[in-house]
């Protein structure tokens, strides 16, 4: 167990470093930060000066080294665009993204597993066919379009739900600002959460269904039936639990990509999370924010991976750490 965690940690560090390196290498091509930092009246000489001051003219590896050296102390510098410490900026935006990701993740998981189980147990029924087909719409239209359509229907035409933002928020503790405790906050969450969760829900549903069908054919399910266990016990106690083992892995990874996918949802719904921050930073070539965001994403993935592995460990007594078997 200790070895397992150690190895995971080592891998995580490598992953983070790789992501940092790759990200850093890529930033040089996203655009010139100076161009967006200064007004049009700034002379070329002044631009060059600023470039030197920011260390942008140093060799790539030196810049990277400096970045990593500061990053380990949690210092990602100051946003070129918003002039605030990047760490603070990200931390203030993170709760919004995490709340959105969590809620849509939970929605996706709950409905995904529910529908998945239903369609697996009722394979071929018209209700399952309908669920399967309708849910596919979630992966057959681009997320941004779904978001815009939801806004159009529920905010503009019906005026049931807000079209943008997070509504009212209250602080929990020092920095966690939540919208979950206010009515407008919850109302604001609905459309973005659906937009973001729809895609994941379909993926989870398909996965659960496929996995469940597989499990339902196994000998131990047949044997459980032969022992006279009730349908409920067989389907949910035995089949579902075994289905969940691989599903947990995939779902964990989904949670990570939910956070990444929130870029689009956040942009459409003007949701004040890190995704929207990132996209604005890309437009502005706000390198410190971009770098920090990517590191954060990598960290989130690494942490989720770790949790998933531990969960896997907990659920599956065979202690098969080799998840390659569980994923397809």
């Amino acid at each position: 167990m200790a070895a397992f965690i150690l190895r995971r940690l080592a891998q995580s560090v490598i992953v983070m470093l790789t992501v940092a390196l790759v990200a850093f290498a890529l930033f040089r091509f996203v655009g010139d930060p100076i161009a967006s930092m200064v007004g049009q009246e700034t002379t070329l000489a002044e631009r060059a000066e600023l470039r030197t001051a920011l260390g942008l003219d140093e060799p790539f590896l030196v810049q990277f080294g400096n970045f990593v050296a500061r990053a380990v102390t949690g210092d990602f510098g100051i946003s070129y665009r918003l002039q605030q410490p990047v760490m603070e900026l990200i931390m203030s935006r993170l709760p919004a993204t995490l709340e959105l990701a969590m809620v849509s993740g939970i929605l996706a998981f709950a409905f995904g597993v529910g529908f998945g189980v239903y369609t697996a147990l009722r394979r071929g029924g018209w209700a399952s066919s309908t669920i399967m087909t309708v849910s596919l719409i979630g992966v057959s239209l681009p997320t941004f379009l779904i978001g815009v359509l939801l806004i159009w229907v529920f905010a503009v035409e019906l005026q049931w739900l807000p079209s943008f933002g997070r509504g009212d928020t209250v602080y929990i503790g020092d920095w966690w600002r939540t919208g979950l405790l206010t009515e407008s906050g919850r109302a604001s969450l609905i459309l973005p959460a659906i937009t973001l969760g729809l895609y994941q829900m379909t993926l989870i549903m398909r996965l659960v269904r496929a996995e469940m069908l597989e499990v339902l054919r196994t000998d131990y399910i047949k044997f459980a039936r032969a022992r006279g266990l009730s349908n409920r016990a067989v389907n949910f106690g035995h089949a579902l639990k075994n289905t969940l083992v691989p599903v947990i892995t995939i779902t964990g990874l989904q949670l990570g990509s939910i956070i990444a996918f929130s870029i689009i949802t956040e942009t459409v719904f003007q949701w004040p999370g890190v995704g929207a921050l990132f996209i604005n930073s890309v437009r502005f070539v706000d390198v410190p924010v971009m770098a920090a965001y990517l590191m954060l994403i990598a960290l989130v993935f690494v942490v989720i991976n770790l949790i998933v592995d531990l969960l896997y460990y907990a659920v599956d007594p065979r202690l098969r750490v080799d998840r390659a078997n569980a994923r397809h």
């Binding site: 992501v19 054919r217 990598a298």
Partner: protein
């Protein structure tokens, strides 16, 4: 072997028609409809230059004043009438959809092909050789998974813009897109193929080939590959739909094919701007086409997944 394959096979079509998979296809109305719709769109896209009444990719043929013509109504300035109306550049929406589907499908197919070739090759090698090659490839796959696909595509796009000389950016955009989408998808293929390869390689027919000293490359390609293609096909089908959607999504983020040669996704992104201004047709028709295409391809994938799973028959 070639001489054997060349032998005329009178009953081939009949036999294919009679096969389990064909049967399961005939028994699934959803799959038939889905296949019909996909085929229709794919054919329409392939033959777009012959079907489409206009060539929206030829800027010289466009008249800006034709812009925003509603479907089936004459344009207020030019008096031209278009079946599905025109967009903001005066492009015939119907023709643009056909040409756009062509681009989308091209991107989709090529991205899938790219991901497939990469994933299958690496998966086969990792699964067959095992050992450190396997560990390395799988770690790379892990890192790749760690990196969300949209971000990856965004960054690849950014980099390519930096590398490619300005004069070629336009022409290369579509290839960059293909590589970006393909690169974010290959892991799936690699994993599936690796897993299946590990299963297949321990099967005795592979050992039989090894006993006679067949070359590993031959074993991989002639023996193992055909036997791991089943799940790959399923992923590829669904991957095609995903790639088409991914292309659309990326176009929303401002990276994508040039708007002078829009794909379905770009069209939707453009049309989305006219949702509240009354020009609903610019959004509606491309969206419906994309929905029909992606939905039917997805349905086909789902059907294929079940049909190829011998245990579900």
């Amino acid at each position: 072997m070639s001489d054997i394959i060349k032998k005329p096979e009178p009953g081939r079509v009949a036999r294919a028609w009679d096969s389990d998979i064909a049967y399961s296809f005939r028994k699934s109305p959803l799959a038939i409809v889905a296949a019909g719709v996909s085929l229709l769109i794919i054919l329409a896209a392939i033959f777009a230059p012959w079907i489409a009444p206009h060539d929206p990719f030829n800027p010289a043929s466009l008249n800006l004043m034709d812009g925003f013509t509603p479907p089936m109504e004459p344009n207020q300035f030019t008096g031209n009438t278009y079946w599905l109306g025109t967009d903001n550049q005066g492009r015939d929406v119907f023709s643009t959809i056909l040409y756009g589907a062509r681009i989308s499908l091209f991107v989709g197919f090529m991205a899938v092909a790219f991901a497939m070739v990469l994933g299958i090759t690496l998966g086969l090698i990792a699964g067959y050789r095992g050992g450190w090659i396997d560990s390395l490839l799988m770690r790379v796959a892990d890192v790749q998974l760690t990196f969300p696909s949209i971000l990856l595509a965004l960054l690849i796009f950014g980099v390519a813009r930096g590398f490619i000389p300005p004069a070629y950016r336009e022409a290369m955009a579509i290839w960059v897109l293909i590589v970006a989408i393909g690169l974010s998808e290959w892991v799936q293929y690699a994993r599936v193929v690796r897993g299946a390869t590990m299963v297949e390689k321990s099967k005795e027919y592979v050992q039989a080939a090894r006993v006679i000293g067949a070359h590993p490359a031959k074993i991989l390609i002639r023996h193992i590959l055909p036997n791991v293609m089943g799940p790959v096909l399923v992923i590829a089908t669904i991957g095609l739909a995903l790639a088409i959607i991914a292309e659309a999504t990326l176009s929303f983020l401002g990276v994508g094919v040039p708007s002078t040669q829009p794909s379905l996704g770009t069209l939707i992104r453009i049309g989305q701007g006219f949702l509240f201004s009354g020009e609903w047709w610019i959004l509606l028709f491309p969206s419906l086409t994309l929905l029909a295409l992606a939905l039917s391809v997805n349905l086909l994938g789902d059907w294929l997944r079940d049909a190829l799973n011998p245990r579900l028959r």
